[in-house]
Assembly symmetry: C2
Homo-oligomer: 277 residues x 2
Amino acid sequence: MKWKRSERLVDMTYYLLEHPHKLIPLTYFSELYESAKSSISEDLGIVKETFETKGIGLLITVPGAAGGVKYVPKLHLDEAENTVSDLITELSRSDRLLPGGYLFMTDVLGNPEMMNRVGKVFATAYASEKVDAVMTVATKGIPIAHAIARHLNVPVIVVRRDSKVTEGPTVSINYVSGSARRIQTMVLSKRSMKSGQRVLITDDFMKVGGTMNGMKSLLEEFGCALAGVAVLVEDGHADKQLADDYLSLVKLCDVDERNRTIQLEAGNFLTEGGFTS
Amino acid sequence: MKWKRSERLVDMTYYLLEHPHKLIPLTYFSELYESAKSSISEDLGIVKETFETKGIGLLITVPGAAGGVKYVPKLHLDEAENTVSDLITELSRSDRLLPGGYLFMTDVLGNPEMMNRVGKVFATAYASEKVDAVMTVATKGIPIAHAIARHLNVPVIVVRRDSKVTEGPTVSINYVSGSARRIQTMVLSKRSMKSGQRVLITDDFMKVGGTMNGMKSLLEEFGCALAGVAVLVEDGHADKQLADDYLSLVKLCDVDERNRTIQLEAGNFLTEGGFTS
């Protein structure tokens, strides 16, 4: 079957979007579409311009025999701003308030479209960093970790609170959970992580950073390095004594249980997320 | 800015892929691209043909004033077969064997590309069913649930083993875990699910179906109906006394601890997943 340019563009767009951060040799496309490399290059030029104009991502061309083309998800600043402002609108609904001033966020974490946007926003910030894996603690960080990892095309590592028979041999560490200064345990399957990797850690909520700090200890235990810390919501009141470099999308500023109001503002992501606008 | 057809095709493909199962009015595209509806219809015709030829999905056109176009992810049989055979190859590696005959699968569940393929395969099977949400039990089913839910564009509901303060009021049920006939507990936040929904339940592994049965009881408790049961790996030896209608991608047939071999075969998905070819 002979492919027309219009059909190649549609199929190529699909293929690139399905394989972020993966170098695809031009011969792959020229053989698939039975088309000359020069035609494929022209196609890719059109895809590249549209991706960049619309803030879908970059199309990076690597020249040479081992070269090819790589799609790197990278949003424009305005799309990141929209995601942050939609999160703020959604999370400040007063019916989210739980006794003790806790915020109900489970539905947001269960919304695949929102998680996809959050994942792309964080993947934008770490687009040019070397990230080998994304790590989180069960349970609520898992959708965020998977969303980021899909756009960076790296595996997800899930740390647990308890060990399970289906995990095989594990490494366990104790850490101090920040606010209450309680000693807690974290467990990671030995098979889950190789040494020498650069790992991005993420979670849905960060208070003083105790859990993040626990994950950092685990990284050291496995001979791995920290690539970054990505948080959906940070507690704006807590003293981040245990966390240093992190990116947050949203900051929880105030919870008034009596008047049932929640105040949120943009986290440090928009200013420190590396947008060149 | 005036859009060329080639640019519209790339951007339209991106937009449709990002919004599965969502009806998009033609005016959305014609205003976005400042193009006549007739041009947009021609564009969509090209996208539709390519999507269908390549097994990306269907493009369903709904005529009339409230009409539009809807992308429904629907793979061809061969892509589903490839996913199943890649899963079998991956899961039969002998170093996955754990004491007690358990299978280490955590890395497969942490592979976003594989989860994306699994999600699309299951979304294909339920493409024409009414599914309002996807439900799973924490922790290991979460990546599968999110992958399916993203392609069906519905929320994910996560059932827990214990209640947490950040979940608000919960409903708790007891159920019999199949093989050991032990009484266990499942907890779901009351805010997580409205009544009257049709829910697809999913998990990474199914033995006799006790956990699935627990989720079914929860559905009844919430006044919801079962839309289907999707399992990554089923235990081929276990008597599915508690499960009736389910789709499995892979069946675990034999685990030989002494010779360290694992035997898997295709689950019932390929024959019962509703492929028409």
